[in-house]
Amino acid sequence: MSTELIKVTINGKEFQVAKGARLIDVCREQGFNIPSFCYYADLALQASCRMCLVRIEKMPKLQTSCTITCTDGMVVTTESEEIEKAQRAMVEFLLANHPLDCPICDRGGECELQEMAFDWGNLEERFTERKNAQPEKYLSPIVANDPQRCILCKRCTRVCDEWMGEDAIEAGGRGANTVIGTFGGWLNCSECGNCIEVCPTGTLLDATYRHQARPWELQQTVTTCTYCSDGCQESVGSRAGEVMRVVARDRYVNGHNGEFLCIKGRFAHTFINDETRLRTPMIRYKKGGKLIPATWDEAVKFATRGLDKAAEAHGANSIAVVGSPRLTNESLYALKKFATELVGTENYTATDAFSLSPFFQNLGGQIATHRDIRHAKTIVLIGGEPEELQPFAGKQIRQAVRNGGAKLVIINSTPIRLKERATQFLHINPETEDAAVLAIFNQAHNELAARKMGVQETELIELRRTITNTEGDVVIMFGGEVSAEAQSLLAQMPYLFNKEGRRALLHPLPLYNNSVGATDMGLMYGKLGATEMLDAAGDSVHAMYVAGSFLPQHLTGREDSLGKLDFLVVQELFETETTRFADVVFPAASFAEADGTFTNSGGLVQRVRQTIPPVNQSKQDWVITAQLSKELGVDFGFQMSASAVFGEIAERIPAYAGLRYPLLKDETNPVQVKHATIEQRDLSQESEAIRARVEKMSDTATKINATPPVGHELFKIGTLTDKLPQMHLLASGNPKPPTLAVSPLYQITVDAGMKREAIGGD
């Protein structure tokens, strides 16, 4: 859109608007209410609901304002008898075949059609014929469908195509028989539920929440999602201490993700009130014995005594402090403080899949937020699989390409689904991502890199040309496949590609909601990493204090390591492989019961708000840490208030300087933390290390040619997703049940043979 201003007259008032602005947006910005169903920002225009009709001078008929681009001198009327008659007629048409039994519809109370009808008032029902009835059915374990409520705005089919790139749901049939559905009637998609979210009526419904509550009974709390590093803003609906649903509807929350959420964020919240949540603190009085419920006082005393004993016997460094990248910044900060200031150990870490510390230690430019990704002109994606691991980032990439005309270069050893949208796809040999980074960093290595990656040198030249020809933002994104040295190179790339009119922005793709926060809080800069720490168990490490659990990938081959410890304190939601060896277990509060902040992959620090009181006897992680430290004789001075902890973070951690909760209040304007920019530095040592490693790579590797199925990561069963029954069906290949009229949960037994390999630790 240009910055040139033009004059538009709306209802007799003159306005200066940007040339090329869409009339419906302009009218709404100026406070003229224009109803619509099918119009949805950043989706393809539909112009089918015919609600947004306006009168424009010199045009013969009423015009849909969603399709009109403002021109200079345009004279528009949005309110007149003629327009009101037309709009009433459209509502009347939409209601003709629509059931008028709102009280039994799950969308009742937050249905746009219902609101429109109420807004208009005195709608006389002239339609006395039989309504076209169709039975309700299930489209998947997650999506319930009541076809007769459909007004065919096709928001669902458009988000499925444009946001998700899946095209799983489409319109079939013709005329009055048009229905939303899919071939065979069964959705085999990523089950993101965005179609449910954008549905203005009760046509597509959340099958996990259906008939469980009415929206007006729910307390809606805006918070940040606890799954991946996208940091989606969501509204948690709870009733009497129970989380009933999670939505991102714009009537409740307006985060950077809009109404977007993925299956995990939207549906996999059942773990919060799961009956297997730890109920009380527990103590294992004897190695090999059982965990016995205890009071908080007993457990805290037992834990501190054990840690004290280990410190006395083996020194402070024999105690390791381990956090989880799922915890809030506040809890992670408390752990770091506990480790360094109270225990005085050098052994602290977070149980992340990979560390971003080399990246932040070399950061030579800005982190791209998700909004930056959407408006980027070129996106280079090295490794990673955002459509499965960071679904919102995947959506932003797709929209940048589709709506923003961005060029997308994908460098991946797997033909991931996103490659459908790619301008260029470098299909590289497995585990040669470092070679790609090396070549981008210094084209002198092109020949070597191309050979090891199994691509043509010209492909690397084209990639470089794409970057250097870009006017606007280049966003370089990378996954956990790149090594620590390669992260350093990537972090310094802005110095190579920044230019007048071009910014090179960086966007890491860590796996967890607070991976970046864990790095920021300093927990990733300890002496040992998670696996090294396990390897040192019983050797140099004799006691551990773990908030959360180790990931299966850490424990694989080290199943007994934790057993070698003298003393293990764990705070968790559930019993896990880590609590199996614990001497003391504290029940921890989940994100829904905690106050605090998460920092997402775009560096946005966003609020986590307490939605329900702590389940059972659980406490927030930082509260438990503070309690332990108090028992050990040090008062952290947190005053039982998360905001006090955050205040200390803001004082002590430069990137968070000046921040306070009130500044983070508005999810509509998220705050990016100010990561320090490191000056351009000599990276010859790192690049030489990479080059040497690349040299040793095979010349004749076999490529991976199969595109992984939808959901191969999303549907993996972890500690949290395990608690959503529907997830087990999806993880088992989402079989179509014999009848679609009944939830597949009642029809299909998931047996061990059906399950995909579980990885846990999601």
């Binding site: 095209d167 899919t182 608690k723």
Partner: protein
């Protein structure tokens, strides 16, 4: 929640779609290639190819749909949305002889209703149905561009115009006897 997980009544599971992909003779494949060659974008050939699959397999059955998706490089839902839009594409089996009688204005005022009644009575089915032996399907269709020679019906792609009850009987008789020959390749 978790009690839902105990199924009340375990039932056998249906195979996931598409279980199999249709295959065609080299001659048919060549015909398909010829259609694909006409367009710069493969998807454009979707309707011609649907007619071929329909001719070869009777209707767009799941393996046929899977074949189309594969051949055109589109998703299964793309085939579904298109197939269900066009009235000549059958997503359900139809009889060997598909009797389609025009019901629109010109034919109607020239007596299409009587022809339909006659056919329905004779075949013992209502429009929209198929005889039990799978020989005949009867449909009322919209204007087929035969208004000057009304009333009319189409069997397969053959036009039969200026119809009378006797003429209809003659045609249906030859179908029943297996003597009816389509006048054109489809």
């Amino acid at each position: 929640m978790s009690e839902q997980f105990t199924p009340n009544n375990p039932l056998p599971q249906e195979a996931k779609l598409p279980a199999e992909i249709a295959s065609f003779s080299p001659a048919v494949e060549a015909e398909i290639d010829a259609h694909l060659a006409k367009y710069p974008v493969k998807r454009s050939a979707i309707l011609p190819l649907m007619f071929i699959v329909q001719r070869e397999r009777g209707y767009l059955d799941p393996p046929g749909v899977a074949y189309l998706a594969d051949r055109l490089g589109v998703r299964i839902t793309d085939i579904w949305e298109v197939a269900t839009f066009y009235s000549m594409i059958n997503t359900k089996p139809v009889g060997k002889y598909h009797v389609q009688i025009c019901r629109t204005l010109s034919c109607k005022i020239m007596g299409a209703g009587k022809i339909t009644e006659h056919c329905a009575k004779r075949l013992g089915i209502k429009p929209g149905e198929t005889t039990e032996d799978g020989m005949f399907s009867l449909s009322e269709v919209e204007c087929l561009g035969s208004c000057g020679t009304a009333p009319m019906m189409q069997i397969g792609f053959d036009y039969h115009e200026n119809l009378s009850a006797e003429k209809v009987d003659e045609i249906l008789d030859s179908c029943s006897r297996g003597e009816y020959r389509y006048s054109m390749k489809s």
